[in-house]
């Protein structure tokens, strides 16, 4: 036990001594929360708009339409075009995304379709802004009562905060553990450790403890920030949330150990964990892009990504406020991943170096 705590102490000083890494590790979660909570939105607003009116003396209706559009929050009036050739130029220079072309019996909404999602949305916004110039509304006989569950203000952060948690924990546990072991191998200090009377298992476990501690600090930061600054309440049980997080941390640490047992150099460990882990986590875990939209192959593939299950569980507990029964499947998957990966990585750990 004395050996173990000495090792843990050594690892801690490795981390704490590296001031820059420490700062980034503590600041990164907050930066990500701010970005994902506020900046990264799929909202369509402030679209640059131009108007082309072939009619030399514009009528009052057309002028009223332009005012209506430019006073909405969706569009910013940039100017009038003098010839139809300018329409393409506006798009190709990226100055605007909508050109309204007036005709005798209406208007054509020419949109830059290179980004199809934005284009479809902005056209439907324009149509609804202009709806009163179309025809009168119908007498309504069926009244839909819409209830938005869990996230009535439709904040984007509600769906991304669980993703940020998954990503940060994965980053610290898997990436840092694998690099720190690969560094000992690369520098040759691993050999020194292996010939010492300390058992290999002790070395490995001691390596993981500081990162476990760090990720707990980050978990606390993220939860506090999302609750008090962004204003996302933790609706479900905090204890359950922490338990699921601990299981996920165990999975991540096991992955880190697995990578380090395969990678011989820091660069290889870094690229393997960076490209092999971070990219799939960002893309396939459902943190930004909904899994339901993906082609079948990727949907199947996303099942092997631990973060996917973790993020789903966190969403259920934190935002939907559901209990243990609802996350049983996610938890079962994570626990079996932790056991399998842990056994695999300990089994693969080589006591001898080539």
């Amino acid at each position: 036990m004395k050996e173990f705590s000495a090792f843990v102490k050594k690892e801690f000083s490795h981390i704490v001594r590296d001031r820059w890494t420490m700062i980034i590790l503590l600041v990164l979660p907050i930066v990500m929360m701010v970005l994902f909570g506020y900046a990264i939105t799929t909202e369509v607003r402030n679209i640059g708009m131009y108007v082309f009116d072939p009619n030399p003396n514009p009528n009052a209706r057309d002028a009223a339409m332009v005012t209506e559009l430019s006073s909405s929050e969706y569009f910013v009036m940039k100017g009038y075009l003098s010839s139809p050739d300018d329409i393409d130029r506006v798009f190709r220079e990226g100055r605007g995304q909508l050109v309204v072309v007036f005709g005798a019996d209406g208007a054509q909404l020419v949109a830059d379709g290179s980004d199809p999602n934005t284009a479809v949305t902005l056209v439907s916004y324009a149509q609804s802004v202009l709806a009163r110039f179309g025809s009168g509304p119908l007498p309504t006989r069926i009244v839909p009562e819409v209830k938005l569950l869990y996230n009535p203000q439709m904040k984007g952060a509600y769906s991304t905060v669980p993703g940020v948690m998954g990503m940060i924990l994965m980053l610290i546990c898997a990436m840092m553990t694998s690099i720190s072991i690969a560094r000992e191998k690369e520098k040759g200090t691993m050999e020194v450790l292996l010939v010492s009377p300390v058992r290999p298992l002790t070395i490995i476990l001691a390596k993981t403890v500081p990162y476990l501690a760090l990720s707990c600090v980050n978990l606390a930061t993220i939860l506090a920030f999302s609750a008090f600054v962004i204003g996302i309440p933790i609706r479900g049980s905090l204890a359950l949330l922490l338990f699921v997080s601990l299981v996920f941390i165990a999975v991540s640490l096991a992955i880190g150990l697995l990578i380090s047992s395969v990678a011989e150099t820091q660069l290889a460990a870094l690229l393997a964990s960076g490209m092999g882990l971070m990219m799939p986590v960002i893309l396939l875990s459902g943190m930004i892009f909904p899994i339901e939209n993906m082609p079948a192959v990727l949907r199947v593939l996303s099942n092997v990504i631990p973060a996917r299950w973790y993020i789903a569980a966190v969403r259920k507990i934190m935002i939907m406020g559901l209990g243990p029964a609802a996350v049983a499947r996610e938890l079962a998957v994570l626990v079996s991943m932790a056991v399998a990966l842990g056994a695999l990585s300990l089994g693969k750990f080589k006591i001898r170096l080539e």
Binding site: V31, T41, L138, L149, N293
Partner: protein, 380 residues
């Protein structure tokens, strides 16, 4: 002298068992997988319909919702509680509840109610689902009105907006340019090319230099008569070559996988790429001057990727961001490159139309490389 150093770098590169394979596989996998995964098109919204009325109109409404193509029916729910269980289990995204008496109210000409409950944990999915459903209900409303003869001669426009006969309707017809099939993947591919260039030509040489620092071999270089410029060039050139090879691979893969060809020609893409690569490798050099260990360098890069890639409009439109985030995105070289490549590939923009973005990239290249030279120290 430079030639010998280059020979050494290339030898080191190819001797590494991991790097050459990575450099070849990364662009291919990235171009094939990223755009497919990074898809915001909303499809397969799971719907659960609770029909408490079981009348002819309520069945018709349910059928209309299901045949719209936006929704897939998930499970069978006899009560709102059962439907909510489907939502909580993640199977249904939206619940349409038709109360008892719906058909009777409609026939009597009164006002009928329906309830929509949308799971908005993923704001876009739930929000779009409920607005699609509201549109379908408005259409159904128009249909029943027409059938009951209350509005003779009206014509449905398919959007719930109806122009009464005799009224000169103003039409707002949309016209979408440049992406005829409205494919989001095609929009993503040029941006992914920028990411690949950033990784291969910007970050890898920086990691390489920091690696030499950490191993101590850079000190051996420092005591040789090799000039600092030759040393740095010997580090950068292999990765520039690598970047351009990878870029060419991505052109082929984009053509094979998405039939995407550059409307503005490839010469312009290469021109922009060369300035961009210069800027990003300059940025990498700056990082390598400050980072002492690979771990530090990697975290700085990760920090950069997170802040600057996400804010350059790669995944989400810049226009929708709050003003501070838009100001920040103006400081990201990636933003100008992503915008330019998208414009060249999809809209066929020419050099003159992108001149300001080109100048911005040139300015970034000058700035980062100048900074790198100034912050370089041969001694600790």
């Amino acid at each position: 002298m430079l030639l010998y150093l280059l020979e050494k770098e290339f030898k080191q590169f190819f001797r590494n068992s991991f790097l050459p394979r990575f450099a070849l596989m990364f662009p291919i996998v990235a171009i094939v997988v990223f755009p497919l995964a990074a898809n915001f098109e909303i499809k397969n919204i799971g719907i659960s319909i609770v029909d408490n009325d079981r009348s002819e109109p309520s069945r018709r409404l349910a059928e209309k919702a299901l045949s719209s193509g936006y929704f897939t029916l998930t499970g069978d729910a006899r009560s709102y509680g059962e439907a909510m269980a489907l939502v909580e289990g993640g199977k249904a995204d939206i619940v349409l509840e038709i109360p008892a008496g719906f058909g009777r109210d409609l026939e009597r000409g009164g006002t009928a109610r329906v309830m929509i409950s949308a799971n908005t944990v993923n704001g876009m999915r739930g929000g779009l689902g409920s607005s699609y459903l509201a549109g379908i209900i408005a259409d159904f409303n128009a249909e029943t009105l027409r059938e009951s003869g209350k509005l003779a001669g009206v014509r449905a426009t398919g959007t719930g907006v109806i122009a009464p006969s005799g009224y000169e309707a103003v039409a707002f017809s949309p016209l979408f340019r440049y992406n005829p099939l409205m494919k989001y993947t095609v929009y993503m591919v040029p941006a992914i090319m920028c990411m690949i260039l950033t990784m291969l030509a910007g970050f890898l040489p920086a990691l390489n230099i920091v690696g030499e620092k950490e191993k101590g071999t850079i000190e051996q270089m420092n005591v040789t008569p090799v000039r600092r410029g030759a040393f740095i060039l010997s580090k950068l050139i292999p990765y520039w070559v690598l970047g351009f090879v990878a870029l060419t691979i991505t052109f082929v893969v984009a053509w094979l996988a998405y039939s995407l060809v550059s409307l503005g020609g490839y010469a312009l893409v290469y021109l922009f790429a060369s300035v961009f690569v210069l800027a990003m490798s300059g940025f990498g050099l700056v990082l390598s001057n400050y980072a002492k260990t690979l771990q530090q360098a990697m975290f700085m890069m990760f920090f950069f990727i997170i802040t600057f890639v996400l804010i350059s409009g790669l995944y989400t439109p810049i226009n929708g961001m709050p003003s501070w985030a838009r100001a920040l995105s103006a400081l990201s070289p990636l933003r100008y490159m992503i915008e330019s490549l998208r414009a060249i590939f999809l809209k066929g923009s020419g050099f003159w139309e992108l001149r300001w973005r080109f100048l911005a990239l040139l300015a970034f290249a000058a700035f980062f490389n100048g900074w790198a030279v100034l912050s370089y120290r041969k001694r600790e």
